[in-house]
Amino acid sequence: MTTITADDVQQADRDSSQAVTRRNITIPLKARGEPALWALGGALSVGIVMIFGFLLLVFYNGFTTFIAKPVAVVTLKSGELVAGEPTRSELYKLAPDAVKALAPTDAAKIEARGGYEQRTLYRTGNYDLSGYDFKWVDDRNVARAEFPSDVLFVERLEWGAFVGRIKAAAIDGKTVSTPTAKDPALVQAHEAALQRLQAIRNIERNLIGRVNYDLERLRLKVRRAELNYGPTSPEAAAARANEVEASGPLRAQYELLAAEAQRIRQIDQKNTVTLADIAGKEKTLPLSGLVRFYAANDLTLADKIGIYLSRWWEFLSSDPREANTEGGVLPAIFGTVAMTLLMVLMVAPVGVITALYLREYAQQGRLVSVVRISVNNLAGVPSIVYGVFGLGFFAYGLGSSIDEVFFLERLPNPTYGTGGLIWAALTLALLTVPVVIVATEEALSAVPRSMREGSLACGASKWQTIRNIVLPRAMPGIMTGIILAMARGAGEVAPLMLVGVVKLAPTLPIDAYFPYIHLERSFMHLGFHIYDVGFQSRNSEAGKPMVFVTTCLLIGIITVLNLAAIIIRSRLKRRFAGSQF
């Protein structure tokens, strides 16, 4: 930046023969623009601080959630025992009447603090025994807090965490009393139990699922024949006969599989643990019902890292359980990525082709201006409106028609005639297509005229010029539009709630059954998962860590998708760099 200083001006004055009188030149601050600069810089820093503060908060909470925390055993003055992970402490104001009702020493202490009392939230678990997962403990009531090394933190498949001790374990019928968390026999038995659980799941989900699928196909064949040829037709009769014939072996197979699952279950029944909470209340459950257990106050660093990583792995690779507040988010990750990619696949060609036509081929006139303004305005329509449109037009309109033509035999159960992955992706494509159109048009118009003329002068046709010169040159700009569309689409939740996102999807949109990719299925989405876990679950305190971790993950996924696109773009850009004249 060059600024004219008073010296320069004086020099100019000296040089000029006209300057008879010396003017005293002062340049006011306003003219130099510094206050404006400070304001701009200030605004920028406020913006950056807000964004980074938010990200920092999310990442801090997200990445600390899975750290194994110590478990405190608090003895209250009343003699009651509270065991749990200290989650957070805060000051809260007691009602004046409540203060008066306290013992004089406590009351004086609280008065001294201006009526505030310190309290700590403990994650006590044991919901099935006590009826709560979290408990506030006021400091004045605490007699003693300890961190005994034999207290266990147990994660269970059902009922959430358990804090206490293992009283006894039955391993293949043999009883081991008061084993430690690292007792090799117990650890081994636990691993075996988890494998059994996996085996049962495999039988029930995959093998029995296959049988059910085949049975359903037979039933649908009959239905199809009845619909096509009439219920009394020979074709329908043949289909019915075929069903009877083929379903026999299938049923037999089903019985076999069910028996096998039952056998494994019975082994499972013989492997149990008896847990006791800190006060001695007991609960017996199968060993396979434990996800993970550890002596929370007796962990080496390696143990902690192991727990941390295994929790992340569980989070990333398994299905949710306990109303989504525990377990993993694999289906939601899958749904988010699949839907975003599908959306990009649909929005990119449509948006680019539209923009190409508008900018390169359409006669520039009033009609094109109107179209352009309308497209720009589409970007401002509230997204929920797109959701309503997507449900009404895509799912109920288009989807129902598809059902009536191709999936008549399944009715009244809708196949395409309800929310699903494809409709969600289409709705979001509709929502984001203005972004791509606007960015592409901009990129196209930024291609220098001289370059088009060069190509045309070589005898290239208009299409060859667009294909060989204009599009490659505009590609980075087009990619920017697609990146923006992707970022907008991946973060959108409201319209998805109407067109296919569900709290818990029974199956992934990809499986082993023909046609393998089921775009009509409803799916899970990280954005909706956050809403559901954070604000729709039984206990918002229990869902809170999940909200942070899931948010981290969503931000991470969007970042990865965008980074991939940005890398592609910078590759393209590098090809056109180095221009010099």
Partner: protein, 278 residues
């Protein structure tokens, strides 16, 4: 057409009178013939009643002060002006006997016969090689041997081969401005056109590159018909056989370069070529 002209003619028209066209010198024929050509950008007329003939195998220079319509006329020869909205023309331009503005003319085929070099270098964002063979690529030629040979010949012709032979597959945008301009010339001759249209090809170049390009034009003389727009009187005198002087959208004088520069008939031409105005 003449009749339509009179009411739109500006006062200067009378002052100039009809263009002074010198007697034709013996060549092997006419390449481009411009007849009663008028052109309007919207309501503003840019060319008035232009009449002259560009001869095959010679270098013809278009000179005249800025804004007199040299580029406009040049861009009419390969119909580059088609891209401009609200453009209106009257009159004829004939190329090899056919009216190039006839509705049956295929502009793509026309442009393949007329290479064009622009005032500012406009290489494509591709490798040097791909830039040169672009006219062949769009014709769907894939034969490596043909491409390589064309590339070599065109770059040799544009006096660029020695400078870029080791970086044929590097981006053309990495070349210097002068090299880029010669690359554009190579691209224009790679398509093997019959006419080469050059719009101030040396305006962005240093004297050495300019000399190289003038040398090139000298070499091209036999095989191509060259039309060159230039502001540089010495250049026009050095490279061209014929010179057309334009002023305010009119052709003022057209003839052999030597005559135009030494014995112009029109006083305006004399003033311009001797540097007294313009």
């Amino acid at each position: 057409m003449k009749v339509a002209m009179t009411d739109a003619a500006p006062p200067v028209a009378a002052a100039f009178g009809p263009p002074s066209v010198h007697p034709k010198r013996g060549t092997d024929g006419e390449a481009i013939r411009i007849r009663d050509f008028n052109l309007w950008y919207g309501k503003a007329q840019a060319l008035y009643d232009v009449n002259f003939t560009i001869e095959r195998g010679l270098v013809t220079a278009l000179i005249g002060p800025s804004g007199c319509g040299k580029s406009t006329l040049l861009r009419c020869f390969n119909r580059m002006n088609d891209l401009i909205d609200n453009l209106r023309i009257e009159g004829r331009i004939e190329f090899e006997g056919g009216d190039i503005y006839a509705s049956t003319v295929d502009t793509i085929a026309l442009r393949k016969q007329m290479g064009m070099v622009f005032q500012k270098p406009n290489p494509f964002p591709m490798s040097v090689f791909e830039n040169v063979v672009y006219p062949l690529r769009i014709d769907g030629i894939r034969d490596r041997k043909v491409l390589d040979e064309t590339c070599y010949k065109a770059l040799q012709g544009a006096a660029l081969w020695n400078e870029v032979k080791d970086r044929l597959h590097a981006s053309a945008l990495g070349l210097s401005g002068g090299q880029q301009q010669r690359l554009c010339i190579a691209r224009a001759i790679a398509g093997d056109p019959e006419v080469l249209l050059m719009d101030e090809p040396c305006s962005a170049l240093d004297p050495i590159a300019t000399a190289k390009i003038e040398e090139l034009i000298d070499e091209l003389r036999e095989r191509y018909t060259v039309v060159i727009v230039t502001h540089n009187m010495q250049q026009a005198a050095r490279v061209s056989d014929n010179t057309a002087f334009m002023y305010l959208g009119r052709l003022i004088e057209y003839g052999e370069t030597e005559t135009i520069f030494n014995n112009p008939l029109n006083v305006r031409t004399q003033d311009y070529v001797t540097g007294r105005f313009g």
